[in-house]
C-alpha cells in the first residue's frame, strides 16, 4: 500500500512538473464547453440537464485520453527509467495501478473543473442534481476504461505516437461497436449471441443510460470490468516486453 501511494504521488505530481496537466485540463474545459454550448444546443433545447454535455464525452475522450495515456509506459521504456522503476522493491501491480490511478485522478480533476457548467444549469433551471452526479460518475468510469486501454497500448511500444494511435483505434472500435450501422453490418450472418456480445461490449451502450442520469449496476460493473481487464492485459504486456 505504501509503495502504491508513493507511486501515485510521484506520477500525479509529475503531470504538474511540465505544462502537461494544465494544457490537458484547459483543452478539456474548452472543448467540453464548446461542444455543450455550440454543438449541443444547450440553451436552445430549453431543458435543465447536462445531456448535451455528457453526450460528447466519448468523442472527447477518444483523443484526449490517449494523449495522457500514451506516455505512461512508452516513455519509461524509451528513456530506460522503467529499469529503475522495476528494480525497486515493489510489485508490478504497484507500478501499473499507481500510474493508472494518478492519470485517472488527473482526468477526474479536469472533469471536476467543468463545475461552472453545472452551476449554469442550476442557475437557469431546476435540474435533477442526482442525475448529474450519476452522469459525472459514469463519465469518469468511462474515462477509466479508455485510460486502461491506453495503459495497455503504451506498455506495448516505446513509441508514444504508436501508443496514441493504437489506443484511439481500439477505443473507437469499442465505442462504435454499439452503433446501429455497425450492428446492422453484422446482423443476419453473425449468430445473435455474438451480436449481443458485440453490442454488450460497446462503450456507448453502457454510457447512454448513464448520460441520462441512470447509474445502473450492470453499467458500473461493465466499466469496472473493462478497467480490470485492460490493466490485466497491461500486466501481461509488461511481463512479456518490459525488458525488450
Amino acid at each position: 500500500m505504501k509503495s502504491l501511494s508513493t507511486i501515485i504521488k510521484r506520477e500525479f505530481l509529475s503531470y504538474f512538473a511540465t505544462p502537461l496537466a494544465f494544457v490537458f485540463i484547459l483543452v478539456f474545459l474548452v472543448l467540453s464547453s464548446a461542444f455543450t454550448f455550440y454543438l449541443g444546443q444547450f440553451y436552445e433545447r430549453g431543458q435543465a440537464d447536462l445531456l448535451p454535455f455528457f453526450n460528447f464525452h466519448p468523442w472527447l475522450y477518444l483523443f484526449l485520453i490517449p494523449s495522457v495515456s500514451m506516455r505512461l509506459w512508452s516513455e519509461e521504456r524509451k528513456t530506460g527509467s522503467i529499469e529503475l522503476l522495476l528494480t525497486l522493491p515493489i510489485t508490478l501491480w504497484d507500478a501499473i495501478l499507481g500510474k493508472f490511478l494518478a492519470a485517472w485522478a488527473l482526468i477526474g480533476l479536469a472533469l471536476a473543473g467543468t463545475f461552472p457548467i453545472w452551476l449554469t444549469v442550476n442557475y437557469l433551471g431546476q435540474p435533477d442534481n442526482g442525475a448529474i452526479a450519476a452522469g459525472y460518475m459514469g463519465s469518469w468510469l468511462m474515462a477509466g476504461a479508455f485510460l486502461a486501454v491506453g495503459c495497455c497500448m503504451s506498455a506495448l511500444t516505446k513509441n508514444q505516437i504508436i501508443a496514441f494511435i493504437l489506443t484511439g483505434i481500439t477505443c473507437l472500435t469499442l465505442v462504435l461497436a454499439g452503433f446501429p450501422m455497425v450492428l446492422n453490418f453484422f446482423e443476419g450472418w453473425v449468430p445473435s449471441l455474438i451480436l449481443d456480445l458485440i453490442a454488450g461490449l460497446s462503450i456507448i451502450a453502457h454510457f447512454i443510460a448513464i448520460s441520462k442520469g441512470v447509474l445502473a449496476l450492470t453499467d458500473v460493473v461493465y466499466f469496472v470490468a473493462m478497467i480490470l481487464l485492460w490493466l490485466y492485459l497491461t500486466h501481461l504486456a509488461l511481463v512479456a516486453k518490459a525488458a525488450d
Binding site: 505504501k2 509503495s3 509529475s14 527509467s81 529499469e83 529503475l84 528494480t87 522493491p89
Partner: protein, 311 residues
Amino acid sequence: MIQVSHLVKRFGSFTAVNDMSFEVEAGTVLGFLGPNGAGKSTTMKMITGFSRPTSGQVSVHGHDIVDDRQAAQARLGYLPEGAPCYEDMTVQGFLAFIADIRGCRGGQRDRSIDRVTETVSLREVLGQRIETLSKGYKRRVGLAQALLHDPDVLILDEPTDGLDPNQKHQVREMILNLSEQKIVIISTHILEEVSAVCSRALIINQGRIVLDDTPDGLRKRAKDHQAIRLRVMDVDPSQILEVCETLPSVDRVEISGKDGDLLIFPKPGSVELLAELQQLLSAKAWQVARLQQLEGQLDEVFRRVTMGDAP
C-alpha cells in the same frame, strides 16, 4: 553472497547470455569486462530482477531473484546503463521518492539523502531539475539513488562511461571508499578501470565467461608479462639482439617497431633474466638509456581472449 548458476538469456534465436555461472563473496569488487555486445548489461538486468532469465538461477543473499524478487531487490542498489531517471523531477524530489519506496521514512530519510549527497557531491544541485544537469551530475544522481538505502550489493552498469577523466577518477574513488563488506559488480570495457577498482574480473565474450581472475592474475597471462624493454645508447639494436639471444634465460628478442627498443622475453618460469642482462650490460660497458620490466598488458590479454582463439 551472489550465486549465479547456468544463467541463459535468449532473444529469439539469439543467445545473449550463454550458461554463465559464478559466485561473488562479500568484500569483492567484481569487474565485468568485455567488448560491446558481450552480454554484460543483459547479465546485470537478470541479476537485478529486471529481465527474466530464459533459464538458470540467480540468488542474492539467499533470495531467488524470480521467486523472491522483492526481498532480493531490497538488498540491491542498481545503476542501469546510461543512468536513466525521472528527468522532470528535482534531484531532491527524485531522491525523496526513491527513499520512500525503499522504506526510509522521516529522519532516516533525511539522513540517507544527506549521506548520499555528501558521498557523490550533489549538494549544490539538490533543487535543480535533473534534465538541466550535465552528464556527470546525472550519473551522480544515478549513483546516489543506488546508494540511498546503503545496500549490501551494488550493481553498476558502466558507471564511468562518458565521463571526463576527473569525473571518472571521482567515481572510482567513491567505489573504493565503499564498505569492505559489500559486493560491488561493475561493468566496463575500460581496462584501466579493472586495475583501478576491481579485486576480481570476469572477462565476458559472446555471452560466456572466458576468464575469471584477479587483475594481477590477468596481467600474468599477457605475452609480455615480465618481459624487459631495453634501450642502449649508441649501439645498433640488431647487434644487441644477437648478443641477448645467447643468454640462457632468454626465449626470444624482438625489436619493438616504433622506437627501436628491444623487447626481451624470458623463457617460461625463468627468474634470472634481469640479473643476466645486467651482467651482460656491465661486461659490454653499454650505456643504458632505458631498462624496464613489463607487468603485462591487460589489453593484450583482453584482445586475445575476446577475438576468438582461446587463451
